[in-house]
Amino acid sequence: MLRRMRNDRLLVAIAVVVGVVLIVIAAIYWAEPAQSLPSFFPGHESGSSHHHVKHGIAAFLVGLACFAFAWFRTGPKRPSPT
């Protein structure tokens, strides 16, 4: 029981951290052109002034999904349906 609670908290913490990171990544995609993105980012391209808006949207949506997961995971426990 105690171990399960710890696992739950760990999962929630991971989801929140990943969510924050993804939203920051989304902001970087929206703000920076392809040439200014860190080289390990998908879409990085030297000399390109193109903004990867879609990559940003994808990162933002997955970030939101992580927050939604954490939100539900920390909600009141419900009895399982019979």
């Binding site: 990559h55 994808a58 949506l61 539900f72 349906p81």
Partner: protein, 290 residues
């Protein structure tokens, strides 16, 4: 502007009517939009910005029709999602909330893959010959789904309750991911999601309902994202044609969704599988000899 003039109003009407029907029938709208101009000898550049902007308008019209057709369901689903967020949990008895989150879970993989791969796949496979070959594969996929479908007991009376009980989170992820096949011209979005839904035990009627609900936000969001192109340089010379095609697309999409919801009460995917196989084969032979 010279290229844009290649979409005449009669062609726009044909493409609009075709888009409305083929987007919802499990026969690949993108495949038909690529194959038909090839068959008719229309010199349309499939990857040209003006043609993509034109297509976006017809997709947007289809999404609006789908949303309006299921508008009462969407109101209940959105209320269900709101209740679950407020309560920080999904009540097992709240079918609307469960269905709403199933749609969210199913939309995420398809949305992400679409955002990241749409342009690449379209450029790679947008030739009529390739689309015809994939149309045959789409027929095989539909037929395979019929052969392998799981017949689960359908106890609940309400459509949404049946779907919410039958589809698990994992199932919704798989069905959502399967939709991404539609990024390849020749594969059908509704066909892939209906096939996936049949495999997890939904009836044909419920599978069609789930597929249309799942498709609405994706088609709408994809169109909304690209709609500004239509009002920019890419839309020069095709805005009027796009408007006419959108109206045609909306009309046929409405008739198609009405027809299909009744059709799948009693029928299966087999007729569409046969059509895709024959149409793909016919087009392949035509392109090979012409």
């Amino acid at each position: 502007m010279i290229l844009a003039s290649l979409i005449s109003y009669p062609r726009a009407i044909v493409l609009g009517l075709l888009q409305g029907v083929s987007e919802l029938f499990p026969v690949s709208s993108l495949g038909h939009t690529v194959i038909l101009p090839g068959l008719l000898g229309w010199n349309i550049h499939q990857n040209a910005p003006y043609f993509l902007s034109f297509l976006v308008a017809t997709h947007f019209a289809t999404a609006i029709v789908l949303f309006l057709f299921f508008r009462r369901d969407w109101v209940r689903i959105l209320e269900g999602i709101g209740r679950s967020l407020r309560d920080r949990g999904i009540d097992p008895a709240d079918a609307d909330a469960k269905l709403g989150w199933l749609l969210v879970v199913g939309t995420i993989p398809a949305g992400i893959l679409g955002l990241l791969l749409q342009d690449t796949l379209r450029k790679a496979f947008a030739s009529p010959r390739t689309a015809a070959a994939f149309l045959i594969a789409n027929g095989a996929l539909l037929y395979g789904a019929e052969l392998l479908r799981r017949r689960a007991p359908q106890a609940a009376d309400d459509d949404d309750t049946r779907i919410a009980r039958q589809v698990s989170w994992r199932d919704a992820t798989i069905i959502g991911t399967a939709q991404s096949l539609a990024l390849i011209p020749g594969f059908s979005r509704s066909g892939a999601s209906m096939g996936g839904s049949l495999l997890v035990g939904l009836s044909h009627k419920d599978a069609a309902r789930f597929a249309f609900l799942l498709a609405t936000p994706l088609i709408g969001a994809a169109a909304l994202l690209k709609l500004p192109q239509l009002f920019g340089h890419d839309g020069d010379g095709v805005r009027g044609q796009a408007l006419v095609a959108s109206l045609c697309s909306a009309a046929t999409a409405y008739l198609a969704v009405r027809f299909l919801m009744r059709f799948f009460e009693t029928q299966t995917l087999v007729p569409f599988a046969v059509y895709c196989a024959l149409a793909g084969l016919g087009a392949t032979i035509y392109f090979a000899v012409s």
